[in-house]
Amino acid sequence: LPLTQEADQVAEADLNFAKKYIENYYPDSTSTPVVRSKGSDDIPADKIRLMQERFGLKVTGRLDSNTLALMRKPRCGVPDVAE
């Protein structure tokens, strides 16, 4: 059974939500527009790590259930990293 993969599986809706969350609160720190290839579903692990570290979560760089739950908490809309 693909146990390790199962632990990492994230519903598409959750993934989209998490991507939007990271874009909102952990935007790229460069002012140069970044062109991403269409269809890329990856959320940069370093940003997940940054968020987990900020919130005192276990730092895995993966979108686990605790990280998702915290993303869903109501919060301020000001980004967490430099423009």
């Binding site: 869903r72 109501p74 301020c76 000001v78 967490d80």
Partner: protein, 377 residues
């Protein structure tokens, strides 16, 4: 705490704000109270003042809006983003998501708590990593009546604007030395040289103030807790001159220079600080050295220099026949006292590391003890 890139701040100290519209979720008066209270959180710990203006441009504009609202940072409907605010570099305006359920209590999203957070951004603070800090990015529901600004927030905002003027060492004429002592007060309660600035009761505990700290003695606990004054009263973070409690009103009065504050628990009451001369003290009195309240007679004693006054809390007026010389009525005591405390019919006058004990009714001298005898040293 953290600040925005380049540490943008407001260059003036007197800021204005306007409320462009209201949420239909709350009474307008409740919105006004929440907004005003949120500004007070910051004005209490900085030299900044915030004045509301109507029908004219303001430094900081406050509005409620849903979804796209003209700043290219759309809100996201119920939940998620509650609000956002711009740093001083971008005007400081604060926007609140109208799709949230705004309330004055904790049945929805408390407007006061969110506004206080957003105004931190408007003044130049970014998100803090410290759990419990106001500037932590996620909403943390807490009783707004018992709200206390976290030391991390105080340190952050004072790194940008400094501490408040007047309440501490600004226009306080009692201090001839503009440089406040920076050395930490003695943490050794049993140091025989220990002296207190003020002593008072507070909801059954006894508070011993020294510089920017106080010790709390709870009769039900063996250990004595030590806290920074800023944890309870940020506006008085550098210390106080005198304090007394009127138990019947659940109110403690704190004195610093020519100002005094009324507080219930750690909540400074609106309308304070006031000038000590409003109590009926003469203009020649620049500050209070010590104060003590007698709950039996409902009289409060104020000590300043070599004199003392007696104030009738019921009549709200200073009694006739005062001031009197301290030495004339409290034999053994010299010209000046540092702190005073009235407890179980005994009057304690603190002078340096010693306290003089009297019968509060007859003023009969009982004896001298070390000031820290309260701690079983």
């Amino acid at each position: 705490y953290s600040t925005f890139p380049g540490d943008p701040t407001w260059k003036k100290r007197k800021l204005t704000y306007s409320v462009l519209n209201y949420t239909p979720d709350m009474d307008r008066a409740d919105v006004d109270v929440a907004i005003e209270g949120a500004w007070k959180v910051w004005s209490d710990v900085t030299p900044l003042t915030f004045t509301r203006v109507y029908g004219e441009p303001a430094d900081i504009e406050i509005s409620f809006a849903a979804r796209s609202h003209g700043d290219y940072i759309p809100f996201d409907g119920p939940g998620g983003q509650l609000a956002h605010a711009f740093s001083p570099a971008f005007g400081g305006n604060a926007h609140f998501d109208e799709d949230e359920s705004w309330v004055r209590d904790l049945t929805g999203v408390n407007l006061f708590l969110v506004a206080a957070h957003e105004f931190g951004h408007s003044l130049g603070l970014r998100h803090s990593r410290v759990w419990g800090a106001l500037m932590f990015p996620t909403y943390q529901a807490m009783d707004p009546q018992n709200f206390r600004l976290h030391p991390d927030d105080i340190e952050g905002i004072q790194s940008l604007y400094g501490p408040p003027e007047g309440g501490e060492d600004g226009d306080d004429s009692s201090s001839g030395n503009p440089e406040a002592p920076t050395e930490a007060p003695s943490t050794d309660l049993c140091d025989p040289r220990l002296a207190f600035d003020a002593v008072c009761s507070l909801r059954g505990e006894t508070m011993f103030f020294k510089d920017n700290f106080f010790w709390r003695k709870n009769p039900q606990r063996r250990d004595v807790e030590k806290d920074p004054i800023s944890a309870f009263w940020p506006a008085l973070s550098k210390g106080i001159d005198a304090a007394y409690e009127v138990k019947a009103d659940d109110t403690v009065f704190l004195f610093k220079g020519h100002k005094y504050w009324a507080t219930k628990g750690n909540i400074i009451q609106s309308g304070f600080p006031q000038n000590i001369h409003s109590l009926g003290l003469p203009r020649s009195v620049k500050s209070i050295d010590a104060a003590a309240h007698d709950s039996n007679s409902k009289k409060t004693y104020f000590f300043s220099g070599n004199s003392y006054w007696r104030y009738d809390e019921a009549q709200k007026s200073m009694e006739k026949g005062y001031p009197r010389k301290i030495a004339a009525d409290f034999h053994q005591v010299g010209a000046k006292v540092d702190a005073a405390f009235l407890n179980h019919g005994h009057f304690y006058l603190f002078i340096g590391s010693e306290q003089y004990e009297f019968d509060s009714r007859t003023k009969r001298f009982i004896g001298i003890k070390k000031s820290n005898s309260w701690f079983g040293c």
